[in-house]
């Protein structure tokens, strides 16, 4: 499975196709340091005011901050607001 995903990513990069469309990778858009939009997510794993972990297929997106709040969420997109300090990928 991992090989398949890696291949899909390579093909997407080779043909200049957006990887979030081809390989189901999450797309993260951060506006300033107060708002983060995550598209193509697979659910929330952890949620607190300082730390939000979002499942995104092969990667997990971890957002560190202060006063974080899940503003809205649907099957594909979610919006987090609050003071964002850092984002890491596991």
């Amino acid at each position: 499975m991992k090989k398949k995903m890696g291949l899909a990513l390579e093909v997407a990069e080779a043909f200049d196709i957006p990887p979030e469309a081809a390989a189901g990778m999450p797309k993260l858009t951060i506006t300033g340091c107060r708002r983060a939009l995550i598209e193509n997510h697979r659910g929330i794993l952890e949620y607190s005011r300082e730390n939000v972990v979002i499942k995104g297929g092969r990667v997990q997106v971890r957002i560190w901050g202060e006063g974080l709040e899940l503003k809205a969420m649907n099957k594909t997109d979610l919006v987090i607001i609050g003071q964002i300090f850092s984002v890491s990928f596991d």
Partner: protein
């Protein structure tokens, strides 16, 4: 926009707790239960908002996610509506207001007339009133075509008219008839006579036979050019005489003005009265008549409840402010009165001699008697005196 819809449809604030309440969020997204404003309370508790209709489904999902719903707080418009359920008087009042609003929106409470230049607005409003378009008229029965033909019968000066009704406001657009130009009958027999008394200085006859000469003194109404054109071989022909006749004319115009006049001085005392106009009925909020006792200027302002250019209600607030004044005699500077009278006399003279006329010389004389300054203008001018006159039928 979504927030407004949520408020109208109603939403609930809930608190859920469990070992991993985040699981519930994922279950909600998978099941299509929309939620927002997720608030973290502690590791085992979350607060969130969902739509009222999703509550039962969320309770099922909470059981599946091993969570419990601690409390539910309904919010939004349906909650307020429920509170009003037993307040019959309030509901009746609201319904009455809605009915009154609907009723008033079917009647005209404001009429605006546009496009008139010569025909006064009050005359058009009067004609419209005769045709059934006035304050308080039921507008759905108004037929623009019928109104147009009826108003044109009353006011033939109008060539076209339309009535546009927006809410309870009628906009009447009119077009005035262009007056028919005077048509000169070239075949009719006309003489040229002197319009004013003077000495002829120049004469050009284009048609007809000259009956006066240059240098001759003529009186007003004297024949200058005859329409009878004699012929050696046939009886005289009758033509429409045409000529330019310039003459020297003399004027003596007098004007007078007092050197003292009355001036208003406001005392600072003022009183304000209010009245309410409901439809066509006026309710005065004062006991005595509206006629002021002392010398005063009355300023009336009428304010109507309306949305500009959209909707008007049949409620007008009238405010009458009386500003009291006293009169005192003021002497005016003699030179200033003199120059003002001179200017008026000259303007009057120029009006009399017309655009083609010229003032050759002018002289002013003054006299003062009983506080009245009299100025006399004596002027010599050159102007056109030819005047067409139809010959009397024989």
């Amino acid at each position: 926009m979504e927030r407004i819809i949520d408020t109208i449809l109603g939403y609930v604030r809930i608190e859920v707790s469990g070992v991993r309440p985040v699981v519930l969020l994922n279950l909600c997204t998978d099941s299509g239960v929309r939620f927002w404003a997720v608030e973290y309370v502690d590791s085992f508790t979350l607060r969130l908002i969902i739509r009222s209709r999703h509550l039962s489904r969320l309770e099922d999902l909470a059981r599946r996610g091993q969570c419990t719903v601690n409390w539910v707080k309904p919010c939004g418009f349906p909650v307020h509506l429920k509170k009003l359920r037993r307040r019959y008087v309030l509901i009746a009042g609201m319904l009455a207001c809605l009915g009154a609003l609907l009723w008033s929106s079917l009647h005209i409470w404001e009429i605006e007339v546009r496009g008139n230049e010569k025909v006064p607005t009050w005359q058009i409003l009067g004609a419209l009133d005769e045709c059934g378009v006035g304050i308080g008229s039921f507008w759905p029965t108004i037929s623009t075509e019928g109104i147009r033909s009826q108003v044109q019968l009353i006011l033939p000066e109008l060539s076209w008219l339309t009535v546009n009704v927006t809410g309870s406001r009628a906009e009447v657009i009119v077009r005035e008839r262009t007056p028919k130009p005077e048509i000169v009958d070239e075949k009719a027999a006309y003489d040229i006579v002197a319009g004013k008394t003077g000495i002829i200085s120049e004469m050009r006859v284009y048609r007809g036979v000259a009956a006066a000469n240059v240098g001759q003194t003529v009186l007003a109404g004297e024949k200058l050019v005859s329409c009878y054109v004699p012929s050696s071989f046939a009886p005289p022909r009758l033509v429409h005489a045409l000529a330019d006749v310039t003459a020297r004319t003399w004027y003596e115009i007098t004007a007078a003005a007092p050197l003292k006049y009355w001036e208003k001085v406001y005392t600072g005392r003022e009183s304000t009265k209010y009245a309410l106009i409901l439809g066509t009925k006026r309710i005065n909020f004062y006991l005595n008549s509206g006629i002021p006792e002392a010398n005063c200027d009355k300023i009336i302002t009428v304010e109507q409840l309306k949305l500009e250019n959209i909707f008007a209600l049949p409620v007008k607030l009238v405010r009458e402010t009386c500003l009291e004044f006293e009169t005192r005699t003021v002497s005016e500077d003699r030179d200033r009165v003199r120059s003002r009278l001179e200017a008026r006399l000259m303007s009057n003279l120029l009006e009399r001699i017309g655009r083609e006329g010229k003032v050759v010389s002018s002289d002013y004389s003054f006299s003062e008697k009983n506080g009245l300054l009299t100025v006399t203008l004596r002027a010599q001018c050159t102007e056109q005196i030819a005047l067409e006159q139809p010959i009397a039928p024989q």
